[in-house]
Symmetry: C2
């Protein structure tokens, strides 16, 4: 058992004057307090918010009401911004200070809590009355491939004789993704058109993707930047990680298969990537640390810059991750979404800190607000596979739904929802909210 | 012969009251007028500039002096920004309007020219007294692979039995690059550290890259954006291209070889990419259009969305491109740089418009200020190979320099300078300025 670094914000007995935050099944109890960017109905300008139950603490309003008078002026400025980048740039200690203040003012029975409750009409918004944005201006988006189960499954489909390439166990394989097409949860996603082939040598034809897929991933936002040319030692890598969200890295498998050699995925991924709007801080996740995936003893030890027993012991996060599908037929019949898979983030071969350290190891500057995603989270069991490509095994074993429908790949009208949460004896359950998007038909 | 779309800015007999702009060998005559972002010694805030001879027209000062009173207020606002993004977002017609005003006010013997000359102390800066910046806030950087000669050369080294992959002649192959590490010409570049292998199966060791290389490329900045999910027809693709610059896509070949499967280059490219500071508009390049590279008749015709005879006829640009090397020994001996290669941008297999149209074809939104690079420009001749990997054939045929030194890959202290220019009978020669960077030793 690892001793988590706990403070008063992790106290499971604390209750909030926001009643919905005390429900056992809320994603956003007092112990979570994730950051996001929201927009009021009555105003164009986005604001920093903190989720609490089914409400949002309006940080601009709360700052103006004096609740953050005790923190550094730079923090107050960051709380009045229209993105999380300034808060992310300040670093984790300052974000922790905000979280502690928010915890006090949202707690029941404290002096600040009583005052905040009396001003609740000014400083709280209902989640049903606001719109959520992508939480940061994402300068660069990098996507890893850190589940050895995903890499092995996909590799065995495309390279049966050579599923896992020789580099896989030596470094967190990753690539640059597209930042411009990252959208907030709830945004519909248009099915892409592109080139695909019936035989590996071509010729291709152009048309709507027939193999559209989702990918269940966890994303991490960069806190402090490193300067170009400087590395980030593994021992301090987590200081550069602000918090986590859910990521659906939509993929067009037919486009991907034809285009990806030799420079990697391009248009098959760049049409859209959906992120959940709430950034769960590493502080909130502290009670849910578990040792990272234990490598088989036959696997090589990482090179020194990626090798740190402390990181392996502390660097896993026990996050239950689910994928839900609601088809157009389910909606028409008034049926709820149906769960496709359930896995755990702790099954990843590389820790987030290893991904970040490797990313900066050649001198690449990672900037506040940049997004690093884990790659598809698939576990060892068939039920924990994080994309349809794996679940339906390249279309060979379509998934049968309770409606009698089957899915080899996504159809128009399918709505995919990712969910994630953490539970541990003695702690409040916390969650990530939803990362959702519906597939629209391709343009004619 | 293609009829270029000419206006008064292409008149070769026009002269400027800025004497240095009338020299036959200047890159920046009155017929060029490229845009850039510069910073005065006396002020932090960057400004929009237009190169003229060895001077820069300070667009903020010129706007305040009333020289742009005739243009749309949105244009005047863009000229007072600290990046080129607002001007790029306005689109090519508005940039053309600015270019025409600048041409008049920098011309000798016109009313505006006389007034501008009388105010030259206020509106002109000397290039030697300013610093140049990356010309736009680059949201996303995409790098193509559009020279079939480069692709064939490199492919034959890494896949001798299969040099050119089946997809190559069907689509402009590209990948997402790293935007954060793009630097302006003149910025030293630190040799990256990373993993490399002696045998393809590993095991790897970590250390400074022993195979650092440059890549000679042409970059294009996006003008108008397309909305996510919308495509850009080939016939209007050039409306989305603001102008061109030179790009050195520094590469660590040993890191690249080990990491690039299956997701493409990552750390081997993301440590630094250098851009030349002046963006030469497509309008200035108009006289230098030539038909795009003629594909062998055995090559497939592109699919309809990439097939447009007008684009092939107008879409090539005759740009002479050179790479120069100055080693530490040359500097110590007071010797000038030495030319490594000379090629032409017209040798590319795909046009810039085809690259842009393909990029957006699955719905990816390209935003104003985004950078698209061509990939290494190599021609059919050995002397036109655009990187050392090709020139020295993977280290097997090191290049011998006039000092007696040899180079298989770059050594610390090597300074690489890219140059590009256009010449055509009946027109003024125009150029791109320099794209330069010196290799610093790796961190210990």
């Amino acid at each position: 058992m690892i001793q988590p670094r706990l403070d008063e914000t992790h106290d499971p007995s604390a209750t909030s004057w926001v009643e919905s935050a005390n429900a056992a099944d809320t994603d956003f109890p007092l112990a979570n307090l994730p950051f996001g960017i929201f927009r009021h109905d009555f105003e164009e300008r986005p604001r920093v918010g903190i989720a609490i139950g089914d409400r949002v603490l309006d940080c601009l309003a709360a700052t103006r009401a004096g609740f953050f008078h005790g923190v550094d002026p730079a923090i107050r400025d960051a709380l009045q911004s229209w993105t999380l980048n300034p808060l992310m740039a300040l670093g984790r200690d300052d974000a922790r200070a905000v979280r502690r203040v928010a915890h006090r003012l949202l707690s029941a029975g404290t002096t600040e809590g009583n005052r905040a409750q009396s001003l609740s009409a000014d400083i709280l918004a209902s989640m049903s009355a606001i719109g959520m944005r992508v939480p940061a201006e994402i300068g660069d988006y990098s996507d890893f491939y850190a589940s050895v189960f995903h890499a092995t499954n996909v590799g065995s489909m495309f390279r049966p004789d050579n599923p896992l390439l020789p580099n896989y166990k030596w470094m967190p394989i990753g690539y640059h993704g597209r930042a411009s097409s990252i959208v907030a949860s709830g945004t519909p996603v248009r099915r892409p058109r592109g080139q695909s082939v019936a035989s590996p040598e071509g010729p291709p034809s152009a048309g709507p993707s027939a193999r559209m897929d989702y990918e269940l991933e966890v994303g991490a936002f960069v806190a402090r930047s490193n300067r170009q040319g400087d590395v980030i030692p593994l021992s301090s890598a987590e200081d550069h990680l602000f918090g986590l969200c859910l990521v659906n890295d939509w993929s067009a498998r037919d486009l991907q298969q034809w285009e990806y050699q030799p420079l990697g995925p391009f248009l098959s991924k760049s049409f859209a990537t959906t992120v959940s709007p709430w950034v769960v801080t590493l502080d909130a996740l502290e009670p849910f640390r578990i040792p990272a995936f234990v490598r088989p003893s036959t696997d090589p030890a990482p090179l020194p810059y990626l090798n740190d027993a402390t990181d392996r012991a502390r660097g896993g996060f026990g996050i239950t991750l689910e994928v839900w599908l609601r088809t157009a037929a389910m909606r028409a019949a008034g049926r709820p979404a149906e769960r496709l898979s359930c896995g755990d983030f702790a099954s990843m071969y590389w820790t987030l800190a290893q991904m970040l350290t490797h990313h900066a190891s050649a001198g690449c500057n990672l900037q506040s607000g940049d997004l690093i995603a884990s790659g598809t989270v698939s576990g060892p069991d068939a039920g924990s596979r994080g994309c349809l490509l794996e679940l339906a095994w390249r279309g060979q074993a379509p998934v049968t739904l309770s409606t009698g429908e089957t899915r080899a790949f996504l159809l128009d009208g399918d709505e995919i929802t990712l969910r994630g949460w953490c539970e541990r004896e003695g702690f409040r359950r916390i969650g990530f909210g939803e990362c959702t998007g519906e597939v629209l038909p391709a343009l004619a």
